[in-house]
């Protein structure tokens, strides 16, 4: 087996004594877009946060680019190339758009700042217009663009996205997904996408995983999962 970019082996994690992940195994190869779907409370967000060391895995191992990152401090993972756009966007609402993007660029070389900023502004022109406004006054869609832009400023090799389409109008969702595709195809950023919006996510993804109750129950290609009657019944009814 060729070495995967990210390999998760038997990871258990949770909050206090309660386990939200009960032995998760998955892998992502360089250059892929992988979708992770599952119903509310399945443990998707917990998995993404555990990849970033918060909460820490109680059991199991996480490998990234051949390195065991299970115990690496959260703030060092960006420097490894592992970057997350967390659930709820979590932009710094009292900072300006520009300052949010500067926060994203914290760990990257200052020489890259101008070109990276121009690239983000080219992807999301609205951010350029609003660069001096406080993040908190942006609309939901603009905040999501800012959260993605902030992540791109740190030059990720693997980008973790937690429900980027949540609460956004269909047009904005389409725009965000098109951008993800562009980032992946154009710049070779590998993507792990957590989505409620299973239809869009599986259409975009090369492969997908289904999580139920803290374990992976099903995996396959994006189109394979889309065609699976079980998946259709559980996650896609009325969603197409």
């Amino acid at each position: 087996m060729a070495e995967a970019m990210l390999a998760v082996e038997g990871v258990h994690a949770g909050y206090g004594p309660r386990l939200a992940l009960k032995g998760v195994d998955l892998h992502i190869d360089r250059g892929e877009i992988v979708a992770l779907i599952g119903s509310n409370g399945a443990g998707k967000s917990t998995l993404l946060m555990t990849l970033c060391g918060h909460p820490r895995a109680k059991q199991g191992r996480i490998w990234f680019e051949g390195r065991d990152i299970t115990r690496v401090p959260t703030h060092d993972l960006v420097r490894c190339g592992l970057v997350q756009v967390p659930e709820g966007r979590r932009i710094f609402s009292r900072m300006t758009v520009l300052e949010n993007l500067q926060m994203g660029a914290l760990t990257s070389d200052s020489r890259h700042f101008r070109p990276d900023l121009d690239r983000v502004f080219a992807l999301f022109p609205v951010l350029a217009e609003r660069r001096a406004q406080r993040g908190g006054v942006l609309s939901g869609g603009e905040q999501q663009m800012l959260a993605i832009g902030r992540a791109l400023m740190s030059r990720p090799r693997l980008l973790l996205l937690d429900e980027p389409s949540l609460g956004l109008a269909p047009l904005v969702v389409r725009k965000i997904f098109a951008t993800l595709e562009e980032i992946n195809a154009g710049e070779g950023v590998t993507i792990l996408l957590v989505e409620q919006n299973a239809y869009h996510a599986l259409k975009l993804a090369f492969r997908g995983y289904v999580m139920v109750n803290g374990v992976i129950t099903l995996t396959g290609t994006g189109s394979g999962l889309l065609a699976n009657p079980e998946i259709r019944a559980a996650y896609l009814e009325g969603g197409g």
């Binding site: 060092d76 993972l77 979590r90 500067q102």
Partner: protein, 311 residues
Amino acid sequence: MIDLYRETAIFLQQLVNGITIGATYGLIAIGYTMVYGIIGMINFAHGEIYMIGAFVAVMTYVVMGMLGVQSVPLALLAMLGVGMVVTAAYGWTVERIAYRPLRRSFRLAPLISAIGMSIALQNYVQITQGARVKPLPPVLPGGIHFLEETGFGVKITWLQIFIWTVTVALMIVFTWVVARTALGRQQRACEQDQLMAALVGVNVDRIISLTFVMGAVLAAVAGLIVTLQYGVVDFHIGFLAGVKAFTAAVLGGIGSLPGAMLGGLLIGLIETFWAAYFSGAYKDVATFGILVLVLLFRPTGLLGRPETEKV
């Protein structure tokens, strides 16, 4: 007519004195407000850091004298520099041993630890330095006199001018650091969302340490100022100054940097004017009375931000 002149002179003199004492409160208040902003905790040992700053100033002066240093600017610079370095070390240590281990514990734990730290530092200074007041000869005598024909006269000492200059310079530097530098952005990010800050690569523990150090450095300057102004220090000056500076931070709006400066200035002015026009005995009562009044009408303080953020 002459009477009005005289009143003006008295007023101006109080203004000069009030601004000077207000500067020290403001400098100490910044430490309270910054630490509160970042970890949501009142660092009750902060007043002791200021007291240590005052002691270090006296000790540095004595050492400079023994080394035969005659130059006043050099002596002041050394007092400022040594004071900042020593209190920075204290601020860092206090955070490390008293607060960091309790970061994830129940809410009152760090508060109790802070009070314990405060008592420990007082006793430590009392034991090592003795309980008697330490005097400091006037380092920067003289000043400018005007309105002397009124029979009262207004005096601005060189020392006061030095104090104002240093205070204004430090406040400009700190405001600039917080508003414009990568360090300041990291501090503000930690104030808003520590987990997200860590996700973009901020070493949150390090930023918290640095925040304590920055607060301690300003407290050291306040300690130096008070020592120069009054010429004496003892081991329990930290308590009252700490309480007043904390009041200043709350008055200005805890968490707000300009609020801390404004609050400090106001409290300095209030107590000076109250003592001059009414009675020295009740100046602290007046100060706290005004605090209560302000909080009744503006619970977040004068420049505090109301908690109506879109999350």
